[in-house]
């Protein structure tokens, strides 16, 4: 069972990798490369197999997303909870690392030393959720509730991440950005949005994966009726598009700051829950 789950996850990831690699290479480039490989290794069937595998995996990839993990229903095949948690923790750790890097990079290039933090106080849309603020509170709260909170936070970030990806692209094209900086770092502005953009795209993808994983965990952990925790809506989209440069940068700063914090929260909660549920608080 776990293998099926893992295979599914792996298949999706490899499909994603293949897709992304194709995007990077460009399929024509790929096809151009292979004939050369084939001609150089005429007497071997290796390159043919390689092409075959690649093409077949591409074809299969299209079907992976629609392939259910448990075709017979959620109760017939179960991935062990421990593996689900391991997977979830790896994802949450990764997402937070990316968010922290993205924030640092943005701050370094656009807003460093300009006191944007003062405006970022109390600006996260998820602050309304009753998430625990220290260890005691986190240990007091019921694990199911905490899991639902985690899922709510994750879901609430779907839309902001989507808009972040869209708007970061516009960030580098704004000439005003470069003027306002006035530092030697302006030389690197062209690169920074690309790094930020790649990270944003990656975070968006992984966030969805983690949300799915959380749903599976909740399925297994939930004893009572399933209740859907309402998740708060993010309303900061208009300010990302505002014309005024400072306001726009402030909006980005806020968003990235909140993303860094919330991803850390999720990571921390999941590690707590893993030790609680799987190892009985004896990690």
């Amino acid at each position: 069972m776990s293998k099926v789950y893992k295979a599914n996850i792996w298949a999706r990831e490899s499909c994603g990798t293949i897709r992304s690699s194709l995007v990077v290479l460009g399929l024509p480039d790929l096809l151009r490369v292979f004939p050369e490989v084939i001609t150089t290794m005429d007497n071997k069937g290796g390159p043919f197999l390689l092409v075959l595998v690649l093409v077949s995996s591409l074809l299969l990839c299209n079907n992976v997303a629609s392939m259910p993990t448990c075709p017979s229903g959620p109760f017939t095949c179960r991935v062990p909870l421990g593996e689900l948690f391991d997977r979830a923790v790896i994802l949450s750790d990764y997402i937070h690392n990316l968010s922290a890097e993205m924030f640092d990079e943005f701050d370094r290039r656009y807003t460093h030393g300009r006191g944007f933090i003062t405006k970022a106080i109390n600006g996260c849309h998820t602050s309304l959720l009753p998430t625990p603020e220290d260890k005691e509170q986190a240990q007091k709260i019921h694990s199911e509730d905490l899991l639902n909170l985690v899922l709510a936070v994750l879901r609430s970030w779907n839309e902001p991440l989507y808009h972040l990806v869209t708007e970061v692209r516009g960030l580098q094209e704004t000439p005003g950005t470069q003027e306002s900086l006035g530092t030697p770092e302006t030389l690197g502005t062209q690169q920074a949005p690309d790094d930020i953009l790649t990270k944003a795209i990656e975070i968006e993808e992984r966030n969805k994966q983690l949300a799915e994983g959380m749903e599976r965990i909740i399925e297994q952990v939930q004893t009572g009726d399933r209740r859907n925790e309402p998740y708060p809506t993010w309303l900061g989209f208009p300010s990302l598009q505002v014309a005024d440069e400072d306001t726009r940068l402030s909006a980005f700063y806020n968003l990235l700051h909140c993303l860094r914090r919330d991803s850390h929260k999720i990571d921390n909660y999941l590690k707590l829950l893993k030790c609680q549920i799987i190892y009985d608080s004896n990690c």
């Binding site: 750790d93 937070h96 690392n97 922290a100 933090i117 003062t118 106080i121 109390n122 602050s127 998430t131 603020e133 220290d134 260890k135 005691e136 986190a138 240990q139 914090r261 850390h264 929260k265 990571d267 921390n268 590690k271 707590l272 829950l273 893993k274 030790c275 609680q276 190892y279 608080s281 004896n282 990690c283």
Partner: protein, 620 residues
Amino acid sequence: MMESARSTGVCVLLLFLHVHLLSGQSPPEKPKISKCRSKEKETFMCWWKPGLDGGLPTNYTLSYHKEGSSFLYECPDYRTGGPNSCYFDKKHTSIWTIYIITVNATNEMGMSSSDPFFVDVTYIVEPDPPMNLTLELKHPEDQKPFLWVKWRPPTQVDIRSGWLTLQYEVRLKPEKANEWEVHFAGKNNQFKVLTLYPGRKYLVQVRCKPDHGLWSEWSPESSILIPDDPTNADPTVWIFVAVLSVVVCLIIIWAVALKGYSMMTCVFPPVPGPKIKGFDIHLLERGKSEELLSALGCQDFPSDCEDLLVELLEVVDNENQQLVPVHSKKHLDQGLKPKHLDLDSDSGQGSCDSPSLLSSHHEGPQESPSTFHTPEGAEKPENPGKSGAHTWDSQSTSVGGRVPYFCADGPKSSTWPSSQPPDPRSSYHNIADVCKLAMPPAGSTATVLDKTDTCAPTSLETTETGAGEEATEQRGVESFHSQTDPDTPWLLPQENTSDVSAKPLDYVEIHKINKDGALSLYPKQDENSNQAEKPGAPKASKEYAKVAGVMESSILVLVHESPAPDLALFEEPAEEAPPSLQQNQEEKDRAAFAMAPSTCKLQLGGLDYLDPANLKDSFQ
């Protein structure tokens, strides 16, 4: 009155201020919050640096408010962290919340506040170093001994509940070394070190880092002495390895020395040395001064030239074949004499290589698969009858017209102008062949002509008069063996061009040398048959006046002595199978001669002496 009172007041004030200023008292300078740290993500501490206190006792207070609340708090604990610090205990610590902290310095003169300091406990976690670092040297039975490093996490960090996850790093070094060897140990509480030098004292430290936090300081050093291993076999192993490698090196050197020369000349072809016309180094070596002198000055052939025809010249076409041209010094010298001039001008390379000759005769190897004169037999034992010197007459003409250059590889063919009219196929010996065969005077060391030399593309052409065929022969003079037996006739190896890979060797036996210094050559199949036929009187022979030169490395170009296309010299019995060297269709010769009467001759004429060194060059 009033004015005086005012001025007095001002004076007093000024005096007062002056006194104060002189005494150095002032309001305190702005303090600065240096850093905040949390050891376990449950409490945290902040430190500040006071500014100048203005000479008065200054009181510092820390005040803060949290994100989302405007309520101003004061530092709950100024003592735990030491002077100029504030300790926030668990009750006062909230994670994922920004604290806005300011420090105020107050003295009698005034007060100053620091800039607000924003801190979120989430990102300032720096634990204590790990504790209880223990070192243990273990000696498992079948394995090398290793050092087992163990430690405990710092006390305050809560790992059990998963609130914090630590990763560790170990570093060690021998006591006297400068660089630490750092190892990442992951989440384990132990680590095994395998790379140890016995007999040294090692220092070990460990540190930790929470996920998304800062590295701790290094723990205090622990040391351990690795005992010497008496049964250590390493030195003997090293001695054994060293001896073995020395032996191997000696073997290699010996092998290189044996074959060194051939290898070296293969890799680094020797530079052709200077040569003197008609001067044979080998003659010098042998001490035959008579021949030497005669080579220099004497123009006459000995009356009886048959004695001089001693050597067989083997010309081999393929790469792998070896040609053994042997020929007597005497007639070689004499034969070569007339050609000294041009030869020298080419530094021994012979005009065979000259572009003028080559350019006009470029024909691809595909031109026609060279077929030997003696396709009937790849060899020429069929013409034992051929003997005598074949003079190469304006082979220059024949060759010049269409000089087939003979390159060793490929279906190149050389045509030897032969005086065999009945031969349907004309084979022209390549001038290059001639050149090459012109060779080394007696005693030339055997050199292997490397057929793979890049010759100019050989255009083989047999000038055919009537038949229009092209008989191409491949031939290359592969090697010239040192002349050990002066009596062995010249062998001009001829190859069946149709059988390039099969490498038939055709030898042309040098029958005699005539007055003109022409070599009369036997076509010969191989050495054995050559030897067998040697005693027999050659039935026919062609006379070649002289060796024009050696071309590339595999072709000896023989030139007929007579300037005019004198085909009378060519005599071949009809029954003779067309040998490669000597045979040629007369018509073809004529035609060939007619074609380029003059071009080749000049060049060929000079190719009378070939420096052995050149041959060596080309051959190896």
